[in-house]
């Protein structure tokens, strides 16, 4: 087995994973996930629980401590087989509140407190760092075994170098697929599928090695049983306390580990998948541990005494001369390590960016919420956080020297994340849990864990002075890290578990009982605990004095232009309004906040909206008022409210229609006088000049000049009448369309050339994205070009910027093409936006228009005839129009 071959196959495997993730992302983008969101993939992705610690470490654990390794799988088994109701509640809350991470869940539950988010983030990062280091170490160890087995000089090997390469590679993969976009629900289909593939690889690898050991080396099940009975392993000292404690610990960890929370709650597509996972995931765990004991026993038997039991999975096939099998085992271990690191770093990066980096950034630059493109900032923060997490893991690996046994580090990490359990379970089942309680509990747990478990793990004299171990901190004997309050009977692990959990719960309960929660906290508490009973409580926002346009601008910076516009449009039409700007009602603000929190976390979203709207104005009195009403009145008023909302919507629509009608009628009067004026001016000059001509006796050149004036005026008249006729034909739908295949790019080219005639003295910068325009449409090219010409000419006429710019953006989605024309001028005032498409409408400054105000009305009619639409796009920093046209125009006549 050549070392180079190993590296090569490793690289090929990574390329394969890239391809899988890439392919799935592509399908997800087209909305065709199909079986990729099945319960099977969900269950396999849960196997992220089995890291390199399981793959390599379990055998070592079994060789050292007998069956104790099983406790690590019994905990999750018990949680999954029976406590789906707990998991389902988590998943439902995660969905309803757009939870992005476990830190977000806790911060959101306790009044969107960012301080709590920071505490949870710190716990998670501290606990996960050694765990990530462990994964790097396992890969390095595995490489080392192959290198030492290979012939001399076939592979130059420096562990530190390998660790660096692995860390950098993982960072690249994670950044590439974990931060592609800022999804509203933080889902990463590509990564989930890649992880499901890795889950299969590691299971197959372990089963293959196990089968080889049982049937290939030992010679059958009976033999193996005999060997187990005979093995040294039998000196297995089990303590009931430790056994039970470890089962509890692993049960807590499977809920609280950031990566488990990520795949279980955040990436969940369908609550129903949990039912399948309730037995399939334990089955997977059982299959993973089926051959652990035989491998450990045979390994101890066959391999030299000094061999590292953590690496038996690799060394056993190698020692027996099965290079191919060893290679498979290596890939299995590689899969376990990489999948864990990828998901863990995504989960941690989400927490770090949402709870630490973005709030800091907003604090340092107040007003940035509305000023910069936050999406890029958030994504960049995530990328930096991923790199930082991996760098921390690598640093820990370097500092610790990668010596400690795998199992010890894993358990310490488990105990660290388990500190979140009381706040989480308390938060979703007990409405009385308060922010102060949660904070006290978490801090106490963190402190006890650090003092009794994490810091001592570096060894006496490293993080804690050796005297502290023997005499206790400050010389107080009851503060010894392994015997708090004189409890010496327990082993260090059980001791740390016992005291950290007891003190954590105590602080949490006492803190909650003695403090009074704030209004937002109580609302969130009710919403979380009663998540299955639908929406509760009053709205969180009072009707704000905020311009919807400012909200739109902010939302665009976070959600992206398309998503934000769609969201606002939907909200506006639900209120019975046209266009993109809904009223900032409390319900709308709530919806917007919840949507934004999917991208940047609840605390940040809340802070950003309050920046614009002002403080959330719900008070304790509001809550009391609601609480005192009886359920019947509530139900009755809910019905009334629904009807009232309906009435308000209708009234709103009517009022809007009425306003429009009044204005149109005014415009019409104005237009009639305008049109008579427009008709009379040329008429007057035609009459006057023709009278002069009739009298005769004029010089030749004067006759020619007068003739030309008459001709020009007649032409102007004709054009006016043509426009009017055109409009009436379009309105009656009696227009003849010549439908054919045409290139969008050519149409825009043509329109730009034609529009140059309008105010030719102005130098316009045109910004286009040519590749996106390479679309062929089945439509009436001339008519569509006419619309483009009109919009471009309008921009040329009215754009008042010193350096005028026109941006043309083309997008294609769901069988429709949108073309946006956006200039950098002052834009159109809000009260005029509703009117510009009406016939005869003109903005106040009529002189500048020079037309009869029919252009946009004609455009609208043309687009209706072409099965599309043209609309004003607010909030783009200038006047902006969006033309929407179907890819294929279905003609009715044909």
């Amino acid at each position: 087995m050549s070392f180079n071959l190993l590296v090569l196959s490793c690289l090929l495997y990574v390329v394969f994973l890239f391809a899988v993730a890439f392919w799935v992302e592509g399908r997800a983008a087209r909305g065709r996930l199909g079986w990729l969101r099945s319960p099977l993939v969900y269950t396999l992705s849960l196997s992220i629980y089995c890291t390199a610690w399981t793959f390599y470490g379990a055998v070592g654990y079994a060789a050292r401590s007998g069956l104790e390794f099983l406790t690590i799988y019994f905990g999750p088994t018990l949680v999954f087989v029976g406590w789906w109701w707990l998991l389902r509640k988590l998943v439902r809350i995660g969905r309803q509140h757009h939870v992005t991470s476990i830190a977000d869940l806790i911060s959101s539950r306790f009044g969107k407190s960012n301080a709590l988010g920071v505490i949870v983030t710190v716990i998670m990062v501290v606990a996960a760092t050694p765990y990530i280091a462990l994964q790097l170490q396992s890969v390095v160890l595995a490489f080392g075994i192959f290198a030492s087995a290979a012939p001399e000089g076939s592979g130059p090997l420096d562990p530190a170098q390998i660790a660096v390469w692995v860390a950098v590679g993982l960072a690249c993969f994670t950044i590439l697929f974990g931060t592609r976009n800022l999804d509203a629900r933080e889902q990463h289909h590509g990564i989930v599928t890649a992880i499901a593939v890795e889950a299969v690889v590691k299971l197959v690898a372990l089963l293959a090695v196990g089968s080889f050991v049982v049937w290939g080396i030992a010679g059958g099940v009976g033999e193996v049983i005999a060997r187990i009975d005979a093995a040294d392993l039998s000196a297995w000292q089990v303590q009931p306390g430790r056994w039970t404690g470890l089962i509890f610990l692993s049960a807590a960890a499977v809920i609280c580990l950031p990566r488990m929370f990520q795949v279980m709650v955040v990436e969940n597509e369908d609550e129903g998948h949990l039912a399948r996972a309730s037995w399939a995931f334990p089955l997977y765990l059982m299959a993973m541990s089926l051959f652990i004991v035989p491998i450990a026993v045979i390994g101890l038997d066959r391999l030299p005494a000094g061999a590292n039991p953590d690496m038996f999975v690799l060394t056993l096939p190698l020692a027996e001369g099965h290079g191919g099998l060893a290679m498979l085992a290596f890939l299995g271990g590689f899969s376990s390590a990489t999948s864990m690191v990828i998901v863990e770093s995504i989960a941690l990066a989400t927490m770090i960016s949402n709870h630490v980096m973005i709030p800091l950034w907003l604090r340092l630059r107040p007003g940035a919420a509305a000023a910069d493109d936050l999406r890029q900032v958030v994504l960049m923060a995530r990328r930096l956080a991923i790199a930082a997490v991996l760098a921390l893991g690598y640093g820990y690996y370097q500092v610790s020297g990668g010596s400690a046994a795998l199992a010890a580090i894993g358990l310490i990490a488990f105990l660290g994340v388990a500190q979140v359990l009381p706040a989480m379970i308390g938060g979703i089942f007990w409405r009385g849990a308060t922010r102060v309680g949660a904070m006290l509990g978490l801090l106490t747990g963190l402190a006890v864990w650090a003092y009794t478990s994490f810091l001592p793990s570096f060894g006496p004299g490293a993080a804690l002075p050796a005297t502290v171990f023997t005499e206790g901190a400050f010389g107080l004997a009851w503060l010894r890290p392994h015997a708090l309050f004189g409890t010496q009977a327990m082993d260090p692990m059980t001791h740390a578990l016992f005291w950290s959990m007891v003190l954590n719960c105590l602080a949490f309960c006492l803190g909650s009982l003695l403090t009074f929660p704030g209004p937002v906290e109580r609302l969130q508490g009710a919403a979380f605990v009663n998540v299955f009973e639908g929406a509760v409580g009053p709205q969180r926002w009072a009707r704000g004095q905020v311009e919807p346009e400012a909200l739109l601008t902010m939302a665009q910076r976070i959600m992206g232009e398309e998503a934000a516009l769609t969201f606002f449009q939907t909200a506006a039409s639900a209120q019975g309004k046209e266009g993109f700007l809904p009223d900032p009602t409390p319900a709308f603000l709530d919806g917007l906040e919840s949507r934004l929190s999917g991208s940047v976390g609840a605390a940040t979203a809340h802070a950003m909206i309050s920046q614009l709207v002002g403080r959330a104005t719900v008070t304790v009195e509001d809550l009391m008022a609601v609480a005192s009403e009886s359920a019947q009145i509530l139900e009755y008023s809910a019905r009334l409210e629904a009807r009232e909302a309906e009435l308000t919507r209708t009234a709103g629509a009517l009022r809007e229609a009425n306003e429009k009608l009044t204005q149109i009628s005014l415009q019409k009067d104005a237009f009639l006088s305008q049109i008579s004026h427009e008709l009379r001016t040329p008429m007057t000059s035609i009459r006057a000049f023709s009278e002069i001509l009739t009298e005769g006796g004029l010089p030749e050149e004067t006759v020619v000049r007068y003739g030309r004036i008459i001709h020009d005026e007649a032409k102007r008249l004709t054009r006016l009448l043509d426009d009017l006729l055109d409009l009436s034909v379009l309105e009656n739908g009696a227009v003849q369309l010549t439908v054919g295949l045409a290139s969008l790019q050519e149409m825009i080219d043509k329109a730009l050339t034609a529009a140059r005639a309008t105010r030719p003295e102005r130098e316009f910068t045109i910004i286009r994205d040519l590749p996106s325009e390479a679309i062929y449409l089945r439509t009436d090219a001339d008519r569509l070009t006419q619309v483009f010409i009109n919009l471009i000419s309008n921009a040329r006429k009215y754009c008042d910027a010193a350096r005028p710019e026109l941006r043309i953006a083309v997008r294609q989605r769901a069988g429709r093409v949108t073309v946006d024309f956006i200039d950098n001028g002052k834009g159109i005032p809000k009260d005029a936006q509703a009117l510009i498409f009406e016939k005869f409408a003109r903005l106040t400054d009529a002189n500048r228009a020079g037309g009869a105000g029919l252009g946009l009305a004609i455009c609208r009619e043309i687009m209706t005839n072409l099965g599309g639409s043209v609309a004003y796009l607010p909030g783009q920093g200038g006047a902006a129009f969006r033309v929407t046209v179907p890819l294929r125009l279905e003609t009715l006549a044909a």
């Binding site: 007998g66 069956l67 018990l78 087989v81 000196a235 039970t244 309730s278 059982m286 139900e635």
Partner: protein
């Protein structure tokens, strides 16, 4: 704030479904009992690892998985009204 009143007594089918859920909820308790039981078989000092222990634990494990698989279809149905508490 409770929603509309729920019926006090249920028809046979929903009744069975709820008891099935109760059974599923009790499963971890049964499992924990079975997994701790072997520790009580012998005094602490004489605890040794035999193949029988391994077989016992894996049998319990398989038993729990099979029970969970039997309950799983019942967990999916009836989403909605009769949600959390019995």
């Amino acid at each position: 704030m409770r929603g509309p009143k729920r019926p006090l007594f249920l028809a046979r089918a929903p009744y069975r479904r709820r008891r099935l859920r109760d059974a599923a909820r009790l499963l971890p308790v049964l499992g924990l009992l079975l997994l701790i039981l072997p520790l009580l078989w012998a005094p602490e000092a004489q605890m040794t690892l035999t193949a029988n222990d391994v077989i016992y634990f894996f049998s319990v494990w398989l038993f729990l998985i099979l029970l969970a698989a039997a309950f799983a279809p019942g967990l999916r149905g009836g989403e909605g009204r009769d949600e959390d508490e019995d």
